[in-house]
């Protein structure tokens, strides 16, 4: 499949901070490409270089097969950008804002369709300052699409939204993907990356630490299942040989902790847990078995969670 964007050895340093450190990747046309990583990993700096907002210290970028040194006006006509924390003129209405940005492009999308799809019809004549967080985020996406772009950058599109609003946006992004647009998504929500992405780059400290499809990334850690439970006493000393992860839970007392054990054999590990519990008069609760996800991939690669 044709690569619409190719990035090689991209670097951006700020004094001693290596914001982007020798990153390379390529993005296929019509796919959703996710940059997943914790806050400060270098995701936004990377996409802002691709959007033309920042200049890279070194590296090579090609768009549509042509190497570029800067994002020129012709290219800006073909991309749509939803920035992290986009804010618009508070005293203007949704309609005025959309029309205002529409007027800046040669290629124009039908605003009525956009408004309908993003469920902003009722808010068309409302001032920006009266919109909720979710409505503002939907407007930011609508503005990013007014020029009917080939490539759409979505930087943390669902941060701060409630689950319902997030789900609504996920469905819309899926619709965009089906319409053939290439989407570059940055997120620190592993569920979002799992649900939306065709290809994921996991980024940490400015470097790509893993890349592939969601399935490939999960398979790469060689993990089958994870058993999760609460214990009233310290449990880690009994499972020294197992791949045990302790999750501090502030809601519980200092003695009570949540444990996760990664295992290839659920039955044997469960049996061991119960045996240990019985022998040592421990009490466990809320046992759950789940499949590994991108969070586990990140944990395995960095020793930290995405929220750390």
């Amino acid at each position: 499949m044709e690569n619409i964007i190719e990035v090689s050895n991209l670097r951006k340093y700020y004094k001693t901070v290596k914001a982007v450190d020798d990153i390379s990747f390529s993005i296929a046309a019509g796919k959703v490409f996710a940059l997943l990583g914790p806050n400060g990993a270098g995701k936004t700096t990377t996409v802002e270089i691709l959007e033309g907002l920042r200049r890279a210290d070194s590296g090579r970028i090609t768009y549509f097969g042509k190497e570029i040194t800067k994002v020129n006006f012709e290219l800006k006509e073909k991309i749509g950008v939803q920035l992290q924390n986009t804010v618009f003129f508070e005293s203007l209405t949704v309609k005025e804002t959309l029309k205002g940005f529409l007027g800046l492009y040669e290629k124009k999308f039908d605003i009525d369709i956009l408004v309908k799809k993003l469920e902003l019809e009722e808010k068309l004549n409302s001032k920006i300052k009266t919109l909720s967080g979710g409505q503002k985020q939907r407007l930011a996406i609508a503005v990013a699409l007014v020029n009917d772009p080939d490539i759409v950058f979505l930087d943390e599109p669902t941060t701060g939204l409630d689950p319902q609003a997030r789900r609504m946006l996920w469905d819309f992004i899926n619709e965009l993907k089906l319409s053939g647009k290439t989407i570059i998504l940055t997120t620190h929500y592993m569920e979002e990356a799992e649900y939306l992405s065709d290809f994921v780059n996991i980024v940490d400290h400015g470097k790509v630490i893993a890349c592939g499809t969601v399935e490939q990334l999960i398979d790469s850690i060689g993990m089958k299942s994870i058993i999760r439970f609460h214990s009233n006493k310290k449990f880690d000393s009994y499972f020294k040989d197992e791949n045990l992860k302790i999750i501090e839970d502030t809601a519980l007392s200092s003695e009570k902790k949540i444990y996760e054990i990664q295992t290839d054999n659920v039955e044997t590990t469960l049996s061991n847990i119960f045996e240990t519990t019985r022998k040592n008069s421990l009490s466990i609760s809320e046992i759950a078995i789940r499949q590994p996800n991108l969070e586990d991939v990140f944990l395995k690669l960095t020793g930290r969670t995405l929220r750390d």
Binding site: E51, G52, L53, R54, F73, E74, K76, E77, I79, V81, L83, N85, T86, V87, F88, F89, E90, S91, L92, E96, G100, F101, G103, L104, Y105, E106, V143
Partner: protein, 370 residues
């Protein structure tokens, strides 16, 4: 001009005029100044009733021979009518005019051989607040003298031999000062506040990912400030006429040119401050300090010739002084050499355009990084 730029101007037009606080501060803040200072200076007039003035007098030789009076006795008699004001005698009309223009005397009085009386005065901003009282006291004194000498005067006229085109007063001077301040605040402050607000909102970044140039962004957003400024000036002028019955006669095409060049100059000044002081709050503080200095030293509310000589040089390095000078010229309050007029306009506009284009790219980049 391309459609994109026009659409951008339209977009900013909506943003500017739907932002009530910005409209209020740009358009009505100077009006409040006008009303406030008008009230203060209006009251101030009454305080000059008790002041004593100094007059110069010339009796034409024809007048003296007609009355069979020696010049000494005529002068001694007339001085008594001017008491407690001081009266100096001048040999001829020319020396009296010079004395008036150089402010050696507050007004000059010429009595010709046909008893026509002419009061010469100078509408120099330094004495225009009291000019009514100067004329009033001088005319009364000479009338009483002529009645006493049983020489009914044929006519009494007054002539402004100052440099301005029209008879001006303190409010005319003040009004043009307020317009200058309006241009300063509309240019310098609106650039700082607008860009500061845009920076805070993150709006600049959003525009930078669209296919518009950085100078298009700055010019389009600034154009509306110029427009808003012009509306503000028109309101001040209308209010000045209606409330204070001011005498100015604006040369409107010239006023538009002055507004445009001055606003550009002041905007460049604002952008320069923003580039020098990267933080919005610091730039705002610097602008406030500069504005205060300018109001005191640039002849906005009082003429610079009352500023002590050793510090007067400060006035000449402040751009707002030249804005006020230009405005007073187009209002007919003061006169200015036409070459100087165009030179100042060109310098203002050119510095504005050059600084705006040089700094806009840098400003956009700086602010996008935040």
């Amino acid at each position: 001009m391309n459609n994109r730029f026009l659409n951008l101007v339209k977009f900013f037009f909506l943003e500017t005029f739907k932002n009530k606080s910005e409209v209020f501060y740009t358009m009505f803040f100077p009006v409040i100044f006008l009303l406030l200072f008008g009230f203060i200076f209006g009251l101030g007039d009454t305080q000059h009733q008790e002041e004593n003035f100094e007059y110069g007098l010339v009796f034409s030789s024809g007048y003296l021979s007609d009355t069979n009076q020696s010049s000494e006795s005529a002068y001694d008699t007339v001085k008594a009518f001017f008491d407690p004001n001081k009266l100096d005698i001048y040999a001829d009309n020319e020396s009296l005019k010079n004395a008036v223009l150089s402010s050696k005397v507050d007004a000059g009085i010429i009595v010709d051989e046909t008893s026509k009386v002419k009061v010469l005065y100078n509408s120099d901003p330094a004495n225009m607040q009291k000019i009514t009282w100067i004329k009033f006291a001088g005319e009364n004194a000479i009338k009483r003298f002529l009645y006493g000498a049983k020489k009914d005067y044929l006519s009494l006229s007054s002539e402004n031999i100052g440099t301005g085109r029209v008879e001006s007063n303190q409010m005319d001077f003040l009004l043009t000062g307020i317009i200058a301040i309006s241009i300063l605040s509309g240019g310098m402050f609106s650039v700082i506040n607008t860009f500061g607000r845009y920076k805070k909102l993150g709006v600049i970044k959003k525009f930078m990912v669209t296919p518009i140039k950085s100078n298009e962004f700055v010019i389009a957003s600034s154009f509306n400030k110029i427009l808003l400024n012009f509306f503000s000036i028109v309101i001040i002028i209308i209010l000045g006429k209606v409330i204070y019955h001011m005498n100015y006669s604006f040369d409107w095409p010239m006023l538009i040119i002055v507004c445009l060049s001055s606003t550009l100059g002041m905007m460049a000044f604002g952008i320069l401050l923003m580039v020098l002081f990267k933080e919005l709050e610091v730039a705002q503080s610097a602008a406030s300090i500069l504005m205060t200095v300018m109001m005191f030293f640039a002849g906005i509310y009082f003429p610079i010739n009352i500023i002590p000589g050793y510090i007067r040089w400060v006035s000449y390095i402040l751009p707002i002084k030249y804005v006020a000078d230009l405005l007073r010229h187009v209002a007919g309050v003061e006169s200015m050499n036409i070459t100087t007029f165009w030179l100042i306009n060109i310098i203002m506009a050119a510095s504005g355009i050059i600084l705006l284009s040089l700094t806009s790219r840098q400003l956009m980049k700086d602010q996008a990084r935040n």
